[in-house]
């Protein structure tokens, strides 16, 4: 249902000039902040020998444990009278160097293992990865401790230990990417051109893996600095007189109660250092890993935002309609671009009627249907105009609680893919009774009985057994029957079916269609049936509304439209349907593509693909003309009876 919203987005991004990574990174203020703190700290640490600092190792017992902000000692002195500021700067130098070296070592060996395992695959891969799994079977810090235990305490040994325990992180993520890459065409091409494996691995594959290596480095370096500081804190890393931030903290701990600043200051320094690295690292990851780019991971709220600029109070519901959508406008706001998915849609349904809404992907048919009960994902979707009347009630001005009461009770939904629309972790019975209990005051066992009746109603054999199974244990057709049963649970007046047969194979399609048709006659329910398939329309719908680029372009009774389409688009669409026994029939795919809904032309949106288009088509918005009883078309030069386009 989000096709209109989601599919244009990448294209729009591709056409816009791609901002370079550095600029993107700097747009992220947190990452920028982290970056500047990090650079400042690194510069100060690098410049330590040239700064007017006291010698970090000169002891002065007379000046021991001076508090911060003392004259000559801005951060005070430690137990041996050494200047803490100077020691912090020198200690940061050591910590940064150790963290960075550990990262580079881990990245080098980890990536190498990952590249070789992923590229060679087969036995080499499984041997290498079993080894990596064995290392990962140990708690991280514990393994580092064991390595230090073997090598003996010392800064260099701590560095090796931390590097070794981080190798698996690199090996695993690089192997996964390499495995995918080495099955790609460009690798095959390189192989055919006679390049050696090493050449392919390092010239063709490595550049593509590099971003992942950088992401893993930027997200693990903070850890490595923390862990080496930890080992030093325990007295297993830097040995006196050499000092990093961790060992300073460890020494300060002995005099924690008398002179807290001696341990608090180095700890604070570690925090700031690691935090700035993490902020910067997250920024790097967001830039390099497109899946995590901002805006992709937003969660839709319970109901589509309604933000009608023009008070649509002037609109009145039709007398004979049970559901009446008027001038519906739904937009998607994505990164500064507005996609007008529904640009003034009118639809109405009478009691017991089935209205088919037909159109290509992106025509706005699903968005229009989902707008009615506020099920368009929001953000980014929002309803900006029009009204939807259920009886006399304007749904867009109803409260959230009122909408909740109506959903599933008066208006129910059947969606496209029954595997993804049923919750995989709950049984059929649980999901059905839940729908019943949401709207009726019955006990759990009564609800179970009703659920069983519902399964009978949708012709599912052994209903009491089926209630206990999970969705993945059923076939596609069965699952869709369950969804229909769920939609019938509370005798809804209106059922909105969004391509309910598209994901099913043809024989099952026919069963589901006839089931829905029978049930609507039995229950006198109205159906709003969304589809892209005129074959399906002719099987079940009384009336049809054809949509194109966010607008309804033609409406009328199904048979009349099929026999004599008025809009050139409708005519073309009908021509696309193959008919058995009519081999001479033309199967025209419509040339060209529909316009992007963020950039609609002023006049007719179909003009560019229309064989009958003339100058006036492009000049101004096309009004709807009602040319016969119950038939209307949004076209200046409609197709005449018998004419072929």
């Amino acid at each position: 249902m989000t096709e209109a919203a989601v599919s244009p987005a990448p294209k729009a991004r591709a056409t816009a000039r791609r901002p370079d990574s550095i600029r993107l990174l700097l747009n992220n203020s947190l990452a920028t902040g982290g970056f500047f703190i990090l650079v400042t700290m690194a510069l100060v640490a690098l410049a330590a020998p040239f700064l007017p600092l006291a010698d970090p190792d000169v002891t002065a017992p007379a000046n021991r444990l001076m508090p911060p902000f003392s004259p000559d000692h801005f951060l005070g002195t430690d137990a041996l009278g050494r200047d803490i500021l100077s020691r912090i700067v020198w200690g940061t130098r050591v910590s940064l160097a150790v963290g960075l070296s550990a990262t580079v070592i881990a990245a080098f060996f980890g990536s190498l293992i990952g590249l070789v395992a992923g590229y060679a695959a087969g036995r080499v891969d499984s041997v290498l990865m079993r080894g990596i799994d064995m290392i990962m079977a140990f708690p991280y810090i514990l393994l580092a401790l064991a390595i230090v235990a073997v090598l003996g305490p010392g800064l260099l040994n701590a560095l090796y230990a931390i590097a070794v325990v981080n190798i698996p992180f690199f090996a695993r993520s690089i192997r996964g990417i390499t495995l995918g890459l080495s099955r790609r065409e460009f690798v095959d091409a390189a192989r055919l051109s006679g390049k050696s494996n090493a050449q392919i691995l390092f010239i063709e594959v490595l550049p593509n893996v590099l971003p992942v290596i950088i992401i893993t480095m930027s997200t693990t370096i903070g850890w490595m600095i923390l862990e080496t500081a930890g080992l030093s804190f325990l007295g297993l890393g830097a040995q006196p007189p050499q000092a990093d931030l961790g060992s300073m903290l460890g020494e300060g701990r002995k005099i924690l109660f008398t002179a807290p600043h001696v341990s608090v200051v180095p700890g604070l320094m570690i925090l700031v250092l690691v935090m700035s690295i993490n902020l910067f690292g997250d920024g790097v990851r967001d830039v390099l890993d497109p899946r995590l780019k901002s805006g992709v991971l937003t969660r839709p709220v319970a109901r589509t935002t309604v933000d009608r600029k023009d008070a649509s109070s002037g609109l009145k519901p039709r007398a004979d309609a049970i559901l009446d959508v008027q001038d519906l406008r739904t937009e998607f706001h994505l990164g500064g671009t507005v996609y007008k998915a529904a640009g003034g849609v009118d639809l109405h349904l009478a009691q017991g009627e089935c209205l088919g809404v037909v159109g290509e992907s992106g025509s706005g048919k699903s968005v229009s249907a989902m707008s009615i009960m506020g099920l368009v994902p929001s953000p980014p979707g929002r309803i900006v105009g029009g009204a939807a009347f259920l009886g006399n009630e304007d749904l867009f001005s109803a409260s959230d609680e009122r909408i909740r009461q109506l959903r599933g009770a008066d208006v129910s939904h059947v969606f496209q893919d029954p595997l993804s629309t049923l919750h995989p972790l709950f049984t059929i019975g649980d999901q059905l009774t839940e729908a019943i209990l949401a709207h009726r005051q019955v006990s759990g066992s009564e609800a179970m009985k009703i659920a069983e009746d519902l399964l009978n109603l949708v012709r599912i054999p052994n209903p009491s057994e089926r209630l206990k199974v999970y969705p993945h244990e059923l076939s596609g057709g069965m699952r869709q029957r369950i969804c229909i049963a769920m939609a019938l649970a509370n005798d809804a007046r209106v059922m909105i079916a969004d391509e309910p047969t598209t994901a099913l194979d043809v024989t099952v399609q026919a069963q589901i269609l006839s089931l829905m048709n029978t049930l609507r006659h039995e229950r006198d329910a109205a159906i709003l049936f969304i589809t892209h398939d005129f074959g399906v329309v002719s099987a079940i719908c009384d009336r049809v509304a054809v949509m194109y680029a966010g607008k309804v372009v033609e409406t009328g009774a199904t048979q009349e439209i099929l026999n004599s389409p008025a809009h050139p688009y409708t005519a073309k669409l009908i021509d696309c349907v193959p008919v058995l026994g009519e081999p001479e029939r033309r199967l025209d795919a419509i040339e060209g593509r529909p316009p992007m809904v963020n950039n609609l032309p002023q006049g007719c949106a179909f003009a560019d693909r229309c064989p009958k288009a003339q100058a006036d088509c492009r000049a101004a918005p096309i009004p709807v003309t009602e040319f016969a009883e119950g038939r209307s078309v949004r076209c200046l030069h409609p197709v005449k009876e018998g004419e072929h386009v």
Binding site: P139, L145, G246, L268, R407, T421, L425
Partner: protein, 314 residues
């Protein structure tokens, strides 16, 4: 389900054997001659050779491993020379203290992490989300040993609310309230990092789940939003968070090394640090083996819980 659990338990046995091999190899890789290390550098060659024979060090590496494994299976992990008691006795005693601390922390970080992550996702871009994100960032960037020191300064020294160290009061303690009183600060400190990691992941996986079609279905049924979040979205998110909680068990047990040192908690972590400094390698070996085995079992438990939640994995 019972059959599945049994199958997983059986599958864990080779992993545990793999652990023993690695632990054995690490210790065998120690540079220098063990007998010389024990007897000192003035020992006569005859004595060194005799001790090597007594210790079985003249045999091949696989033979040594099998002897060591045989002893291990009979509960003999050797004798700690610095404590002069069997390694197993010491390790078991220390291990239970670590499990009390790490177990409590694991429970705390799961509860706080899941709660914070869910709230943060539900109020995405709102204040709750910003505050949670900020604390997560602080949490995963803070050196836990330093945080422990700060908490001691604040709550033990200044406010005198909790004891600064130990597991029980020296005089008159020993009961459960006393243990809890001593447990609060170290357990909280130890859980901070893991809370951040779990909260972060829970947020991401909630956001992922809330976009799924079945959440739209739940809403289309007319379920209250509270129920959509707490039942439909949370259960699905939990399935992907559970394995990470299993992995966090390893980080918590590893982090216990620092926290036990800071709070002088008589667990396996502080034992290891001392044992490394005194080069009591048999003690290190025993400790590492126990914690690694516990980690395997924690991950196994996480796997089993995940399978119980997700029928598709059965």
């Amino acid at each position: 389900m019972a059959a599945y659990i049994l199958k997983r338990l059986v599958a864990a046995i080779p992993v545990l054997f793999g652990l023993t091999i690695i632990v054995f190899l690490i210790m065998a890789m120690i540079p220098g001659d063990t007998a010389t290390a024990i007897l000192g550098s003035y020992a006569t060659p005859e004595n060194v050779e005799k001790l090597n024979r007594d210790l079985g060090l003249d045999k091949s590496l696989p033979q040594q491993y099998l002897i060591w494994l045989g002893n291990l299976l009979q509960g003999d992990l050797g004798r700690s020379y610095s404590l002069n008691r069997p390694v197993l006795d010491e390790v078991v005693e220390r291990f239970s203290a670590t499990m009390i601390l790490a177990g409590t922390s694991l429970v705390l970080c799961s509860i706080f992490g899941l709660l914070a992550g869910v709230m943060s996702a539900v109020r995405q871009f709102g204040w709750t989300d910003k505050i949670v994100t900020f604390f997560v960032l602080i949490g995963i960037s803070t050196p836990s040993f330093w945080l422990g020191l700060l908490l001691i300064l604040a709550f033990a020294v200044k406010l005198r609310l909790f004891p600064a160290s130990g597991m029980f009061a020296i005089y008159g303690g020993g009961d459960l309230p006393d243990l809890i009183h001593h447990l609060v600060l170290p357990a909280l400190t130890l859980s901070v990092v893991a809370t951040g990691v779990i909260a972060r992941l829970t947020r991401t996986s909630m956001l992922e789940v809330l976009r799924q079609d079945y959440i739209r279905t739940a809403r289309a049924k007319g379920l209250a939003e509270r129920k959509v979040i707490a039942k439909h979205a949370f259960k699905a998110a939990l399935v992907s968070v559970i394995p990470v909680i299993g992995i966090q068990a390893g980080f918590v047990m590893g982090g216990a090394v620092y926290i036990e040192t800071v709070f002088q908690w008589p667990g396996i972590g502080s034992m290891l640090v001392t044992a490394i400094s005194t080069r009591d390698l048999l003690l290190v070996q025993g400790g590492v083996l126990f914690v690694a085995a516990a980690y395997v079992l924690f991950n196994l438990a996480a796997d089993i819980v995940q399978t119980m939640l997700d029928p598709r994995l059965r």
